[in-house]
């Protein structure tokens, strides 16, 4: 018996190591050295020579881990982009692809099923394949770049041993998958989901269960009087000439989504961009600034890159999954963006019969039922049914069969062509023409060129109805499905007379077009601060622009100051009255003001709609409260001043409870923190939350409590006859690998609004590199 002891012990140990324990990473590969994460090689210093088909390509990484790609052709460049994205953002790209393909549950388990079902019904993988076929015919060079991008990605994957895959794969117990050439066309849909998918129409129909139409119109106006602060004042008509739209007749049977308190505190997305023409700048050159507000995640959305093809350079921020620079500059033109914030989703309630048919133009049409089997980790596979209809994919929500029509789910434009042509544009006009190819997610593009000219164009598709409408549409007629119109030729101002422009996600125009864009736009606070600074300064310098990026002045304070100070308890009055509106870490007034605002808005919303998760636009509520003596509710009128006084008392109690009894200790940095979370949510891979300045209403925005959204990058570009002088900073770092020296190395500078000078290198021999890759 004794002779079997050791073999038995070995067998038991091996069985334990290789048994798939639920909730644990595969222990065998995680704990045995040859395949453990200890094999991960960060490779930040030195060089390597790899076999590869693109021998004209060199990739050199600088001290921030920014890759500088030198290639002799566009396809080699795309190959290099695929390679370097895989090298630094492999897990992020895997999760993005799985998300859009509806294959997340396969590795994340049943909790991801809802997401998978949502994505699968749009059939984005199939759509991307057909788009690639179309592009192969129309723009073969572009299609070749997509293929080369996927080849570069897969080339990196092939030379990766099991142990070298990023840590997250070890923890979750699966391997990265190869990329298909159509993936870049599929992945842009993820940004569509983040930026232009809206369920407001669903909520408007459910809102009628809570408020009469008159109050919906009052609290959710098509355009708030205070919001008439447009991006394009030059092409806006009389601000009083706002055409109203209609609320559809449809009333939901229940709440959508289910009525639960889900209001996130101060959590709003947004971005800033602005440009100053040479005629108004201190150097005589055009300046362009951009900061896009997205999730402060690890890794972040953006990946900085320098591309040189046959001596022609472009620098800027790419998104993993795309071979192109999305926000950036060449030596001739610069471009940056903010989200246009349009509602590009329509919902149709289908009238169905017992024979699985729906009504269309007075006839019954068969529902085209589709079935998908979704693999689920540690659980049986899920069978998902949905229908394809004339109005888009349909699923049952709250007992109603609703079809979703979304701009992103139809093949309509060629966003990548826009970025491809931007690289080659030599002046403002050519850059504008390039952007007319861009269809979604619609963006406010700011432009500048080396001749000192600037411009702004909002490029994208929008469904335009004969009369603007919101709410679920009871589908009957085929004409209810709207055509999409490209508004890039209408919404633009090139070479503005005032010599500067800006956008901060507010409405594009203050006229009848506004309601057609059908959106709840971002508050105007940031735009007001930017506009004020640029309009008051006839000779704008680089430092002025940096100061504007760093501004933590709350743009709503001038509107609310009297209301806030007058209603505040005596012990708060002086602190608030003396406050300059700046949300700095040390400010106590910033804590009082921001907590009061959030609580006031929440309380007023609760009085109006209870726990239903569709708060009226906060800026409009504050505008009404600051300017009206009384506000209507379903039962009676309420006095905003009295509500504010009650809210101040609650606010005082809450702050004392969370921050201590002494008001001196209520410094904003103790109340408001920023937390960079890893995309898996694992705290150990996240960046510890730290005290932070800024608010959702400051240019240097910090949204959420704790702050989880903010400027995902900042860039400042000056174009002249010579090389561009640019500075950038990324929220986080270049690498997506936890523990990598470039994983979080830019966070300190990012928070202090410091920048890194961009290395404008045209020849690889000129640079000082930390790590180089050659292909032989």
């Amino acid at each position: 018996m004794r002779k079997w002891f050791w073999p038995l012990l070995t067998a038991v140990l091996l069985a334990a190591l290789f048994y798939p324990w639920p909730g644990l990473p595969p222990l065998g590969s995680f704990l045995l050295y040859p395949t453990s994460p200890l094999q991960i090689d960060y490779a930040i210093k030195g060089s390597s020579s790899l076999p590869g088909t693109h021998t004209d390509l060199e990739i050199h990484y600088d001290e921030r881990g920014v890759p500088h790609l030198f290639a002799q052709s566009d396809t080699s460049l795309a190959f290099g982009m695929g390679f370097t994205h895989a090298r630094d953002r492999l897990f992020q790209l895997e999760m993005l692809r799985r998300t859009v393909r509806g294959r997340l549950a396969e590795v994340a388990g049943a909790k991801a099923l809802e997401s998978d079902r949502w994505w699968l019904k749009f059939e984005f993988e199939k759509l991307a394949q057909s788009e690639l076929e179309r592009i192969s015919q129309e723009e073969p060079q572009l299609a070749a770049m997509f293929k080369a991008y996927a080849d570069g990605f897969n080339h990196y994957l092939e030379q990766l041993s099991p142990g070298e895959k990023p840590l997250e794969f070890h923890l979750l117990g699966f391997a990265p998958s190869p990329m298909k050439p159509y993936a870049p066309l599929m992945l842009i849909r993820y940004m569509d989901k983040v930026l232009d998918y809206s369920e407001n129409d669903l909520k408007f129909s459910a809102l009628r269960n809570y408020l009469p139409d008159s109050l919906i119109e009052y609290y959710y106006p098509w355009q708030s009087p205070y919001a008439r602060f447009p991006i394009y004042p030059e092409i806006s008509k009389d601000s009083n000439a706002v055409t109203k739209g209609i609320l559809t007749d449809y009333v939901s049977r229940g709440d959508f989504p289910k009525a639960e308190v889900k209001r996130e505190r101060n959590n709003e997305l947004g971005s800033n961009n602005w440009a100053v023409a040479g005629s108004r700048s201190a150097t005589g050159n055009a300046f362009l600034c951009n900061d896009t507000h997205l999730a402060l995640a690890l890794p972040g959305t953006w990946y900085e890159v320098h591309q040189v093809v046959k001596g022609k350079a472009t620098h800027g921020f790419s998104i993993p999954g795309s071979p192109f620079i999305i926000s950036g500059f060449s030596d001739k033109v610069a471009w940056g963006m903010t989200n246009a914030t349009w509602d590009l989703t329509d919902f149709f309630a289908l009238n169905t019969n017992a024979e699985n048919q729906y009504e269309l133009d007075g006839q019954w049409v068969d529902l085209d039922q589709r079935e998908v089997i979704i693999p689920v980790k540690d659980a049986p596979a899920d069978t998902f049914h949905y229908y394809q209809t004339y109005f888009g994919p349909a699923t049952t929500m709250d007992g109603e069969l609703l079809a979703t029509r979304w701009v992103a789910s139809e093949s309509t434009g060629n966003e990548m062509l826009a970025f491809y042509q931007l690289r080659q544009a030599s002046n403002l006009e050519e850059a504008y023409q390039a952007l007319l190819n861009f269809s979604h997610p619609p963006q406010n593009f700011v432009l500048a060129d080396a001749n000192g000219q600037i411009g702004m164009v909002t490029s994208g598709l929008a469904p335009i109805a004969p009369v603007p409408q919101r709410g679920i549409i009871a589908a009957k007629q085929s004409q209810q499905r709207l055509d999409f119109y490209h508004l890039g030729r209408k919404l633009k101002v090139l070479r503005p007379e005032k010599g500067w422009n800006h956008s901060a996600n507010q409405t594009q125009v203050s006229d009848s077009l506004g309601p057609y864009l059908n959106s709840i736009f971002a508050p105007t606070a940031r735009g007001r601060i930017i506009s004020q600074h640029l309009s008051e300064n006839p000779s704008v310098s680089r430092n002025d622009l940096k100061a504007l990026h760093a501004s933590v002045e709350d743009g709503e304070w001038p509107l609310l100051k009297d209301f806030v100070v007058n209603t505040a308890p005596a012990s708060f009055k002086k602190t608030l009255a003396d406050w300059d509106g700046k949300c700095t870490e040390k400010s106590v007034a910033a804590t009082l003001y921001n907590h009061f605002k959030w609580l006031y808005c929440d309380s007023l919303s609760h009085l109006l709609i209870g726990h239903f998760d569709f708060q009226p636009p906060a800026e409009h509520l504050f505008y009404l409260s600051a300017t009206q003596d009384s506000l209507p509710t379903k039962e009676a009128y309420l006095k905003p001043g009295e509500l504010a006084k009650a809210v101040w008392q609650s606010s005082k109690r809450q702050l004392a409870k969370t921050l201590g009894a002494e008001m001196e200790a209520w410094q904003y940095g103790r109340y408001h923190r920023i937390h960079f979370k890893h995309i898996t949510g694992l705290e150990a891979l996240s960046y510890t939350a730290f005290p932070a300045q800024g608010s959702p209403r400051t240019v240097n925005v910090s949204s959420g409590l704790p702050g989880t959204h903010g400027p995902a990058m900042r860039s400042l570009v000056e174009l002249s006859d010579g090389p561009p002088k640019a500075e950038t900073v990324l929220a986080g770092g270049q690498s997506g690998q936890p523990g990598h020296p470039h994983y979080t190395d830019q966070i300190t500078n990012w928070y202090e609004v410091k920048y890194y000078p961009v290395k404008w290198v045209l020849d690889a021999e000129e640079g000082h590199w930390q790590y180089s890759i050659h292909f032989r």
């Binding site: 002779k3 012990l9 070995t10 045995l32 040859p34 453990s36 840590l167 690998q737 936890p738 523990g739």
Partner: protein, 119 residues
């Protein structure tokens, strides 16, 4: 120690080291098995443990654990006192030694029978 024993120890060390650095569990187990089978004579448990420890130390010296990565994994595992690389080293040495020793046992049995026969 006989010259032949020393030569075999070197061979074993090379095989174990090879099993570690080839970044494949198949190689790792194949090498561990080979070490157990070669030569056709019995070895003690301590012998395998020492060789595996030495090979592991060399591998870690040549490819030192990345501090940031170690810290992240320790955070995920919720272990502060024992670095992750040490846990991996211990498991790898233990498993490698056990596999070799267990596969060496039949040889040990054969060898003892042979000795009995010679007597």
């Amino acid at each position: 120690m006989k010259k032949q024993d020393f030569q075999f120890a070197l061979l074993h060390l090379s095989l174990i080291f090879g099993g570690l650095i080839f970044e494949s569990l198949l190689y790792f187990f194949a090498m561990a098995a080979l070490v157990g089978f070669l030569p056709r004579s019995a070895r003690s448990w301590l012998y395998y443990l020492l060789l595996n420890s030495l090979a592991m130390a060399i591998a870690l010296y040549l490819n030192p654990p990345q501090p940031g990565l170690n810290q992240s994994i320790n955070g995920v595992l919720g272990i502060e006192s024992l670095p992750y690389w040490l846990i991996v080293a211990l498991f790898t040495v233990l498993v490698g030694s056990l596999v070799s020793y267990s596969l060496n046992l039949p040889l040990r049995a054969t060898a003892s029978k042979k000795r009995e026969f010679q007597r």
